[in-house]
């Protein structure tokens, strides 16, 4: 079955080429919106079915199958193949990418219906799926890097999708440039790997992992991690992700929440064997993850833009995943990647549904002749939407419960596993730091539940606030409506996954405590045990249960507090009260810790100054001067020699004859 893997890659590529070329060449094709949309959706759904087939034909013990298509690059001893690896990890990622991808394609057909660039949007989306599948299925680092850069390009194209708005294209540039910093480190890591084992093939690298020792292992691990901080939006490179929300909402859901941003976690999980040999690198990963989680969570608390809250929430959850990686819970990190893909995609799509509705209101008001302009993403203008958009509300609420870690929804299991691993790491080397990180993670978990309910309650509960806030919008409520089925079906599917997704990784001890015997309920752990390593759990059973109870307590407490503070339109006063309570600290959160300003002051402005004062002067005076001097010399001699050209044909003929005579004379004498 695995030999059909090339189809998984080729079909989205075909979708991209057909829609792209037809759309480019034919105006009338661009108007065939349902053809374009369905073609693109099917081009992702069919690979999903194929992945599912491959998945079903495998079991936890299956050997990795490598499908080699052809040699891509051959130079000296270096060869790189277009080869895809089918193992438990890659097929899991492929299922998430194509599954969530297909749902979001379907959703986009509703969301982008009235957009002029409809064909372009779906072309880019297919290209993204193609690149992402290359990333997760690749059997060597170079092909992985191709996918890595490919998703970066698609992210750039889609963030700047409405490039007429200079802010949006600036956001696209920002994302691309910040990623470039990480990619540079990743490239160096690749060079080091190649120098050490002489190949970039995963098989060769994994069978020679013992060549990586001491400092080398540390540096390769750290450089790869820096690459991951770029793509997966961690401190210090996370600032691009919130700005990336300038793109259409389905893009935010697919690329900037469910799939692309998790590729850093995938990369580190893939190299879990390497990371386990360097505890210092693991610690660094955990510390960065922990800091990112708390920083992003506190910023999310202060945002009013519905998508910005979700963006910071994504950064924070990615931090959680890195915490898991850093404490040796590679499976736990992948678990959170999968569950996060479900509930965060659902949340983003839900927010898209809300924004869609708010846009519609603005549009209808304008139609009515009322000049009302408001930010359709600002949740302070919303409220009470649950009556108008029941499906969106219910799915959004389910996902909020899931992300908050309310028991037995998907987020509960995955977050719990991460906290357990952190606590477990606290018993090992660098214990104190890991305990501190555990503390940070618990605080973050509390904040996560709190700001997510703040978002949900302010948006969907209470009363619709637009009519009271804007003159002329008094009857705006009548224009609110639920989104079309193409948008609500994906929401429901994702919400159901967000409820039940957690059962793929039910912790072993949940069952074994009661039955008293090994039960093998943790499907995900069994599934991935062949392809990843992980730290041994040395926690006693009692501690595990205490941790679970504590996590439940934190999540429920946060939920209840948020409910009390934010239900019934108390949102703005509560925000004000929190601001009062935390004072300067809150201002720091609101200012996003001034990361952007710090980069502006320390890198961008000195860079501009250097260019302006030194490099530009050098260029104009020295480089240009040299080039111009050569030009002037040639010009001077030309001005003397040009008189040879008389324009009279006889002059040339005489010169010609004399020349011939001269040559013959030389030959004879």
């Amino acid at each position: 079955m695995a030999e059909y893997v090339w189809l998984i890659i080729a079909i989205p590529l075909a979708g991209f080429l057909i829609n792209g070329l037809m759309g480019l060449s034919s105006e009338s094709y661009r108007r065939q919106k349902s053809v374009i949309g369905w073609l693109a959706t099917v081009a992702v759904f069919v690979p999903f079915l194929i992945s599912l087939q491959i998945f079903l034909s495998m079991n936890a013990g299956s050997e990795a199958t490598v499908v080699r298509l052809f040699t891509w690059i051959e130079a000296g001893d270096f060869t790189s193949e277009i080869a895809y690896r089918v193992d438990q990890l890659s097929i899991l990622m492929a299922l998430v990418v194509t599954g969530v991808g297909a749902l979001i394609h379907l959703y986009s057909m509703g969301y982008m219906k009235n957009d002029e660039g409809y064909w372009k949007f779906f072309t880019y989306l297919n290209l993204f799926i193609f690149a992402m599948l290359n990333l997760v299925m690749a059997n060597n680092l170079l092909l992985l890097f191709l996918g890595w850069e490919g998703v970066g390009v698609c992210s750039y194209l889609l963030i700047g999708f409405w490039y007429g708005d200079i802010k949006k294209s600036a956001a696209a540039n920002k994302a691309f440039i910040y990623n470039r910093v990480g990619d540079f480190a990743f490239l160096i890591a690749m060079f080091l790997v190649f120098r050490t084992v002489g190949s970039l093939d995963f098989d060769v690298i994994f069978s020679n992992l013992d060549l990586f020792q001491g400092d080398l292992a540390f540096w390769v691990a750290v450089l790869m991690f820096i690459g991951a901080t770029g793509k997966s939006a961690q401190i210090p490179l996370f600032v691009w992700l919130p700005d990336a929300m300038a793109g259409p909402t389905p893009v935010s859901a697919l690329i900037h929440a469910a799939t692309m941003v998790t590729s850093g976690i995938y990369l580190i999980t893939r190299f879990s064997g390497l990371y386990m040999t360097s505890p210092e690198a693991m610690l660094l990963v955990a510390v960065i993850g922990g800091l990112t989680a708390i920083v992003a969570a506190t910023i999310a608390l202060t945002q009013h833009d519905i998508k910005k809250v979700l963006a910071y929430s994504t950064v924070s959850q990615l931090g959680f995943m890195f915490l898991a990686l850093g404490s040796g819970g590679f499976v736990a990190a992948m678990f959170h990647v999968v569950t996060h893909a479900f509930f965060k995609a659902c949340l983003f799509l839900g927010s898209g549904s809300v924004i869609h509705a708010m846009h519609h209101v603005e549009h209808e008001l304008e139609h009515e002749g009322k000049d009302v302009h408001f930010d359709p993403q600002d949740m302070r203008n919303m409220g009470g939407l649950k009556e108008y958009m029941p499906s969106t509300y219910k799915t959004f609420l389910i996902s909020t419960f899931a992300i908050a870690g309310i028991p037995f929804l998907s987020g509960f299991f995955s977050k719990d596993e991460i906290l357990a691993y952190l606590f477990n790491a606290g018993l090992g080397e660098f214990g104190a730091i890991y305990f501190a990180l555990w503390g940070l993670a618990v605080v973050t978990a509390f904040l996560t539940a709190f700001y997510m309910f703040r978002l949900t309650l302010t948006t969907f509960h209470g009363t619709f606030k637009l009519p009271t806030k804007f003159k002329g919008a008094e009857n705006a409520a009548k224009y609110l409506h639920e989104s079309p089925a193409s948008m609500t079906i994906p929401l429901w599917v994702l919400a159901i996954l967000a409820i039940f997704g957690g059962f793929m990784g039910v912790p072993e001890f949940f069952v074994s405590t009661f039955t008293g015997s090994e039960s093998n309920v943790n499907w995900l752990y069994n599934w991935l045990s062949g392809v990843t390593t992980r730290a041994a759990i040395i926690l006693p059973l009692g501690v595990k249960w205490i941790l679970v109870a504590f996590a439940i307590l934190v999540a429920v407490a946060a939920t209840i507090i948020a409910y009390k503070k934010y239900d019934n339109d108390k949102g703005e006063e509560t925000d004000a009260a929190i601001k009062q309570r935390f004072g300067g600290l809150y201002t720091t959160w609101e200012d996003k810790y001034k990361f952007d300003e710090a980069y502006e002051a320390s890198i961008i402005r000195p860079g501009f100054k250097l260019s302006d004062r030194v490099l530009a002067v050098f260029d104009i005076k020295v480089v240009d001067g040299f080039v111009n001097a050569i030009g002037s010399i040639v010009q001077f001699f030309g001005s003397l020699l040009r008189f040879v050209q008389t324009g009279v044909i006889h002059t040339y003929a005489i010169a010609f004859v004399l020349g011939v005579i001269l040559i013959i004379g030389l030959l004879i004498f």
Partner: protein
């Protein structure tokens, strides 16, 4: 039997006449005829050498030269006509736009 040197003499004479014509005459058509004269001189020497050395290749080459010369005459005359239409003159000393 007339010796080879006589043929070469005629050829040289014709060639020099052609060169002098090209150098001194101003009418484009006359200059052109002189170029043809030079070509004929070369043809005579080719045929003469060919006969002298008993090698037919030289004669075959002459046919090619004649063909090319015919084609060249065609193009050349067309250029002369084009120049004349533009300048109302075929005096090549007056056609001197391409200079400093």
């Amino acid at each position: 039997m007339i010796g080879l040197e006589w043929y070469l003499g005629v050829s040289a004479l014709l060639f020099v006449i052609g060169v002098l014509g090209v150098l001194t005459r101003k009418n484009a058509i006359v200059v052109f005829m002189c170029v043809e004269l030079m070509l004929s001189a070369v043809n005579i020497s080719l045929v003469a050498f060919s006969s002298y050395m008993g090698d037919v290749h030289g004669m075959i080459l002459v046919f090619f030269v004649l063909c090319v010369a015919a084609a060249e005459a065609c193009v050349g005359l067309a250029i002369v006509i084009a120049i004349y239409r533009n300048n109302i003159t075929a005096d090549i000393s007056k056609i001197n736009l391409l200079r400093w």
